[in-house]
């Protein structure tokens, strides 16, 4: 450590999307003022988690300094405009709703929820937002003339997470001056005050730094193993603990879905993420409720005859997180901090938020670090709790009766008390900003509306609240007009990506 405890060097242990996003955000923010080293075992490889992002990824990549064209070409990315939840409510073939990325028309100044609840003629997501219409037609959220990272409709990405790691690595090393060390960490040396003084590389010996970022995946070598921070198991709320994943190649000119498709199954649900080159499909389930053979049968039925040619990969998931995320001079990002089922693509966004905070709130001195760490822990724990509640919300409203998995998910003993209280309030008042007062909210009130009303929940209309009837009618009309206009104007996801292979998005 430098004299007077100044923080001059950061060592990120582990690569992958977590390691390289953190390296990129810190290095881009601090330039050469801070020495950034990333040590990883190239041999060991990474687990590519999270092939779906949030819209935040656009800003993250812009900050790191990568152009959208380069990013999309390299990671085989496609545009994501939300998630379609199929068969979650009743399990019927025509049972679906959307959680789009565009807010309900007029939100939050105007809240359409009470007006829709008074007369729910069509699905909530389709009545208050134009984006579902774009998704149903596999249309893109922008044009070839739209500048880098700018859309006509809000959007995120589907991508190849392994390629994202590679792209970030190249940019971090080549452009941002991040030192890269390929080594296997064999030991961790602690200082007297309990800080990590150095990680010991098999070939490089001790690698010292003032701050260590633990991106070692589920192993959590620094925060979990070396500093003994316990894992908080949340499988009492979220039962999913297994995934069976396949990658299915697609035809060159086949449509590319503009949204993640999450289809509920007997013992869990299937994700379906369309890239230009392949579809990533996986069944997540609870091993307490079903064995792998029964799940494989359902997955095979979903994928179709091609399933026989694919090699499914089984992944064990631990739902939960560390009891604290930053201890002494070690902060964990990515799987080392925790993991939740990929129902709302929370993995990459938590990495971005954590890395961005570490970059911008980087303590100047070691004494200041304890205070920053306390804040980070409070904020990050709040975020995990909100995500867990929001994920649970998808399950508790289901009317499915076809297995113990779905029935057990509705057992009040498995539902966090805050969520139960909140649901009671929402019987009479739609989710609004009053419910979400923190500066660190993960999901806007609108997201809760999309899921609640999509799952068949109703807020009792209170006539006194319908004073903006005309404005509401205007907003419904505007949505219908936008649907007509945009479905006529936007290219398909596939057509725009083909165009992008040839031309670049303009820089302004």
């Amino acid at each position: 450590m430098a004299e007077n405890g100044a923080i001059r060097s950061v060592c990120i242990v582990g690569g992958g999307s977590a390691g390289w996003l953190t390296a990129g955000l810190i290095a881009a923010h601090h330039g050469r003022d801070l020495s950034v080293t990333l040590v990883e075992s190239v041999r060991r490889g990474t687990i590519g988690v999270g092939e779906g992002t949030w819209p935040t990824m656009r800003n993250t990549l812009r900050k790191i300094g990568i152009s959208e064209t380069d990013f999309m070409r390299f990671t085989h990315a496609s545009f994501k405009q939300g998630a379609k939840f199929a068969r979650w409510r009743t399990g019927a073939a025509d049972d679906f709703y959307y959680h789009p990325l565009v807010l309900p028309e007029g939100f939050p100044d105007l809240d359409l929820a009470p007006y829709w609840n008074a007369e729910p003629s069509r699905s909530f997501s389709d009545a208050v937002c134009f984006q579902e219409a774009l998704c149903e037609a596999s249309l893109a959220p922008k044009l070839i003339t739209s500048p880098d990272y700018v859309g006509i409709a809000n959007y995120a990405y589907h991508l190849d997470a392994v390629r994202l790691g590679e792209l970030l690595a190249e940019h971090c090393i080549g452009t941002l001056g991040v030192h890269h060390i390929d080594d296997d960490i064999v030991d961790v040396r602690l200082a007297e005050n309990g800080d990590v003084a150095a990680v010991i590389g098999e070939r490089h010996g001790p690698i010292e730094a003032d701050l260590f970022v633990d991106c070692t995946g589920f192993a959590s070598r620094l925060l979990g193993e070396a500093l003994g921070v316990p894992f908080v198991d949340r499988s009492d709320v979220l039962f999913v603990d297994r995934a069976l994943a396949v990658q299915r190649p697609v035809e060159e000119d086949s449509p590319i879905s503009s949204n993640t498709i999450s289809t509920a199954q007997r013992h869990g649900w299937i994700w379906d993420i369309g890239l230009p080159t392949r579809r990533g499909i996986g069944y997540v389930w609870s091993s307490r409720h079903a064995g792998a053979e029964r799940v494989e049968e359902e997955l095979a039925a979903y994928v179709g005859p091609d399933f026989a040619k694919l090699s499914p990969r089984e992944i064990t998931i631990r739902s939960g997180h560390r009891s604290q995320f930053w201890k002494n001079n070690v902060v964990a990002v990515g799987l080392a901090a925790g993991f939740l089922e990929p129902l709302e693509a929370s993995a990459l966004v938590l990495i971005e938020l954590s890395a961005d905070y570490i970059a911008t709130a980087m303590p100047a001195t070691r004494p200041a670090m304890d205070f920053v760490a306390r804040r980070f822990n409070t904020m990050t724990r709040y975020r995990w709790d909100r995500i867990i509640e929001f994920l649970k919300l998808h399950y508790v409203l289901s009317e499915r009766e076809d297995s113990a998995f779905w029935r057990d998910n509705r057992d009040p003993a498995t539902i966090p008390q805050d969520l139960q209280d909140q649901l009671e309030l929402w019987r009479d008042t739609p989710p609004g900003e009053h419910d979400f007062a923190s500066a660190h909210e993960m999901f806007p009130a609108a997201s809760y509306q999309y899921v609640l009303y999509g799952m068949g929940f109703r807020t009792r209309p209170r006539t006194g609240r319908l004073a903006q009837h005309e404005a509401a009618q205007d907003a419904f009309d505007r949505t219908a007009a936008l649907k007509r206009k945009l479905t006529a104007a936007m290219p398909t996801n596939r057509a725009l990506l083909d165009r992008l292979a040839q031309y670049r998005f303009p820089t302004l």
């Binding site: 070839i144 003339t145 739209s146 165009r499 031309y503 670049r504 303009p506 302004l508």
Partner: protein, 238 residues
């Protein structure tokens, strides 16, 4: 428009009326330019960058109307301008393809193809007419200017001297309109970037583009005059 490759056997007898060629510009508000004509054209029209809807790539263009399909310089018979872009002067001819593959095409549906037209492509001896040689010269400048224009546009983007300019306009009759998708050279940004623009010719072109933005006012005047003429037409007789 029906563009076909120009063929000596098929088109030798064609007569052209160049004055009528500009009719097809009557409904065009943006005319693409090449770098070496920008200084001159910018003395008459505001010159912007705009994006090609098919490729998203920027191109330089003269603005002739304040909404799509409007050309405020077209008076019903001709274009009222001292300087015209090469892309109007070449009509009804076109350049096909690129590089050594490039060939001349003609729009067989152009109103400029007229039996009584004063100009021919081929003269009595079977050689090219002066008129056609001047067309070839124009097409040559357009073809040769492509790379230089591309480089100039890249320079403008790299040096970040271009800003999106939204034209919010109010007219005499109380109507308003907003024209988007236009990017102009910003004088202040140009001043900041002048050390990085090493070629004097480039600097002069960019300065001309920055100054040409004032000519939007002339377009607004023309629009007002057009609106006044229309309201006079519809006013009750007196």
């Amino acid at each position: 428009m029906t563009i076909v490759p120009l063929n000596r056997a098929v088109h030798a007898g064609l007569r052209i009326d160049p004055a009528r060629a500009a009719e097809s510009a009557a409904a065009v508000h943006l005319v693409p330019l090449v770098a070496d004509e920008i200084r001159q054209v910018a003395s008459q029209f505001p010159v912007f960058l705009a994006k090609d809807g098919e490729t998203g790539q920027f191109y330089a263009a003269a603005l002739m109307g304040l909404e799509p399909q409007e050309n405020l310089f077209w008076n019903g018979a001709s274009l009222e301008a001292d300087v015209l872009p090469l892309n109007l002067l070449r009509l009804p001819f076109f350049v096909f393809g690129d590089g050594p593959e490039a060939a001349i095409g003609i729009d067989e549906a152009s109103p400029a193809i007229a039996p009584e037209g004063p100009c021919a492509i081929v003269d009595a001896e079977g050689g090219e007419t002066d008129y056609f040689r001047s067309v070839q010269a124009i097409l040559g400048r357009l073809l040769q200017g492509r790379d230089a224009t591309r480089q100039l546009v890249d320079l403008m983007l790299e040096t970040r001297i271009v800003r999106e300019i939204k034209l919010d306009m109010a007219f005499h009759d109380g109507s308003t309109s907003t024209l988007t998708g236009l990017y102009g050279v910003d004088e202040v940004a140009l001043g900041r970037a002048r050390d990085r623009i090493t070629a004097f010719d480039d600097l002069m072109i960019l300065a001309a583009m920055a100054l040409s933005l004032d000519k939007v006012a002339a377009l607004v005047r023309r629009k007002n005059a057009r609106l006044d003429a229309q309201s006079a037409w519809f006013a009750p007789g007196g």
